[in-house]
Amino acid sequence: MTVSFLILATLTIAGMAAAMGLRNLVHCVLALTLGFAGLAALYLQLGAQFVGFTQILVYVGAVAILAVFAIMMTQSAGGLTQQALSSSWVTGSIVAGAVFAVLAWAICSSAASPQILPSQPEVSVNQIGDALMHRFVLPLEIIGLLLTAALIGAVVLAMQEKREKP
């Protein structure tokens, strides 16, 4: 475990925890972008450059902006008048803590950890494009179809409904 991993992990966890814990929704999304950026840096550290930059483009760029737009359009930016936590937050926190305990126990007691560390794999965008066009071409087409359907579906869902004449 290196120092850079510790720094990035602390940054990511702090960002994510603040995103889930702050009261003001806009502050939540700002903290969320910090957490996503830390995660992208972790991907870069693991040698997955393409995934790291995709994470920055999609999550820091698109999803955060989309969430900010949703907050603005639903006028819940103030957030101080209403309570932040739901009525069942105690049960929810207990369930989340129990899930983390079970996962941590399973990870620490598993024998899956490799003893010999493989060297850093070299992955170029060229190789990824090659794999996408040969071995993974069917999932790529399906993802294209799914994204088109999601685009149309989101527009139809968010469109203003026309009032029917009585």
Binding site: M1, F5, A9, T12, I13, M16, A17, A19, M20, C28, V29, L42, Y43, L46, A48, V51, Q55, V58, Y59, V63, L66, A67, I71, M73, T74, S76, A84, L85, S87, T91, G92, S93, V95, A96, G97, F100, L103, A104, I107, C108, A112, S113, P114, L117, P118, Q120, V123, Q127, I128, A131, L132, P139, I143, L146, A150, A154, L157, A158, Q160, E161
Partner: protein, 103 residues
Amino acid sequence: MSPLTSYLLLSALLFSIGLAGALARRSAILVLIGIELMLNAANLNFIAFWRYGPNPAALTGVMFTIFSISVAAAEAAVGLGIILAVYRHAKTTDLDQMDSMKG
């Protein structure tokens, strides 16, 4: 502690934070963001297993993460569209007040 174990523990912690947010927050937008966090924790697992797995040249983990990010982006767009439609109908994003199915 091996590097793989530390990455898996970090991912489990991120998953639990997302789960706690999805279960305990009152705003529908933050519940959706919590689900996104859980998907991101799964992506980190894929990348860590790809990096420390026996065959990193096969690129399977990277590919799965790329597809997972695209599906998560589609899910976020549709989810926020649903939240906007519900807000227009119920005039609130408070999940404790959205407890009737008939409207």
